[in-house]
Amino acid sequence: MSPSAAEPERLPPDNYLADGHTLWSWLTTKDHKRIGVMFLGLTLFFFFMGGVFALALRIELLTPGRTIMGHLAYNRMFTLHGVTMVWLFMIPAIPSAFGNFLVPLMIGARDVAFPRLNLASVYLYVLGASIALWGMFEGGADTGWTFYTPYSTTTGTAVLPVLLGVFIIGFSTIVTGLNFIATVHTLRAPGLGWMKLPLFVWAVYGTAIIQVLATPVLGMVLLLVALERVVGAGIFDPARGGDPLLFQHLFWFYSHPAVYIMVLPSMGVISEAVSAFSRKNALSYRMIVYSTLGISFVGFFTWGHHMFASGQSTFGAGAFGAMSMLVAIFTAIKIFSWLGTLYRGSIAVEAPLIYTLGFMFFLFFGGMIGVAYATTSLNLHWHDTYSVVAHFHFIMVGATVMAFLAALHYWFPKMFGRTFPGKLANGAALLVIFGFIATFVPQFLLGNLGMPRRYADYPPHFQTLHVASTTGASLLAFGLLCIAGYLAWSLRYGAIAGDDPWGSEGFEWKSQSPPPTHNFPVTPEYPTGPHEYAPREAEVPHAA
């Protein structure tokens, strides 16, 4: 399946995009690739919405006092931003969009294990998102995305529809995770053993374990808050003997691993991109696999570091703090392995690689600060300040969005069969990375000076840093709009990519781009692992 020498004029006629052009053919599709593309469209839409809300927040903080909105509107706006970005964009973004599209292609299967359930997960997601957003616009919850009791059980705003919406989205997540586990277990092509799976598949598999095990707990705790609001069940209400900390335990038992639902698949993307753009197999494939599984396991033991200042016991704080630091070890293994892969590789500077480098920087920087936060005594100084906001944006936006953009650029030719303007993409990538740094580094400084999070107002001497942050956010937004512009243009007018425009040896490129509806005319064979590149001529080959 090598690309032909002559530049092809048009997309291959039997691709999945050409298999029915009606809206109905998309709404009733069971093709994992179309479902992935639908998820991609939906998550991009919510990414845009969340970005608009973020800009509104930054504009409000441009000046002390009221700029464009009052305090309640600000509270609703940051809740809207958090709920949209966390539950509607980041959790489904990479697993549901790219995972759906790529996992069957990477393991040589015709589809995921349960295609009808897969379609149902799209509809559950749309239903949940509609209910949550309807609630947000109708009454607007002001609790933040964490729904802490007792505030969430007593505030007069529309918390119920938001809870219900997130609850339904949780089912969508569970269905996706269940599907991936069953797919990886049962649909691998003959000859493709566990230790030959592409690292992205491993990352999605590790994510699926978290999705399946943690999400039910979130579902139940959201239902408990809803019941408390409706019938006064009293389960988290101190006045009736309940314990608000129990809510935090149950909530973070899901929501801390949920951070790894966002970050693990990103790490999978990076593992693929690093190998593809340095033309080298991953340094210590096995260590990356084990650290992926290690993160999804240890991630379940660290939730209490969100509760250091909530009155949890010293024993709890100490144990959770120590466990939190363990995550850094697994992350460090991965970063070390990626750097080792890049070292003496044949580097191709393309947009996905630039995002990959950005990812590594943000993960490293944000992660190291995370280790400092896991130290209880330091944490008390930073707790609930802007510097926590900057920290988790470094991991969640910095790392996850960088990986999302890397995935979008790396697999755009796979998904749509066309390439994008490379120079423009490289420029936009640099702009996004620079804008991102300019947005969040001032926030670290602000937090360290004592600016609390979730406040619409601040004393005038913080203004310089706030203006710097807003300027950075505008740059970031401009960069993202550039990307949206040229990718939309490329969808229609981009050059035809051919089957493997990057020359990558990843398994997903073994099929035609864009793939035909049933992926492979004949079941592919897997004599080697992924990303086995022939040694370059000038190079003395190492021991293979």
Binding site: A109, P150, T153, T154, G156, H185, T186, L187, R188, A189, P190, G191, L192, G193, I209, L213, V217, E228, R229, G232, D237, P238, A239, R240, G241, G242, D243, L245, L246, H249, L250, F253, F300, F301, G304, G311, Q312, S313, T314, F315, G316, A319
Partner: protein, 135 residues
């Protein structure tokens, strides 16, 4: 190896009498739980009752849910879920037990309504006494 196939070892299938023997065992263990309850019991009664329930659960999973006949990965799924239930339960209870006493509900002083929320239904407020005062 390629994707997993369903392994079902026919040699491990229960016969009708096997199903009935396991069933009688389950009923007997249920009766045992109840009988232990009627005897005078102390601090050990809950662990013992939960242990018997666990034995019954293992019997049902192995024989009635056919785990014994299937691949190890299916058992691993169940085992993982049980481990994480244990983690959640144990860590939460341990943390509550080791907590600084005044932060344990209901707390050292009565709950007051939030300012401005005195008239909001469901707002935090002191409970109306239903039974006799707590000693």
């Amino acid at each position: 190896m390629a994707g997993e196939d369903f392994v079902e070892e026919p040699g491990r299938r229960l016969s009708v009498s096997g199903v009935l023997v396991v069933g009688v065992g389950l009923l007997a263990l249920t009766a045992l739980t109840y009988l232990l309850h009627t005897l005078p019991h102390g601090a050990w009664s809950l662990p013992v009752a939960l242990f018997i329930a666990g034995v019954k659960g293992v019997l049902i999973a192995l024989f009635y849910m056919h785990l014994r006949e299937q691949r190890g990965s299916n058992a691993l799924v169940l085992l993982t879920s049980v481990v994480f239930v244990a983690v959640l339960l144990a860590v939460c209870v341990l943390e509550t037990l080791t907590r600084f006493a005044p932060t344990i509900p209901p707390g050292p002083f009565p709950v007051e309504p939030l300012p401005g929320l005195e008239s909001v239904p469901r707002a935090a407020r002191p409970p109306e006494p239903a039974g006799p005062k707590q000693p």
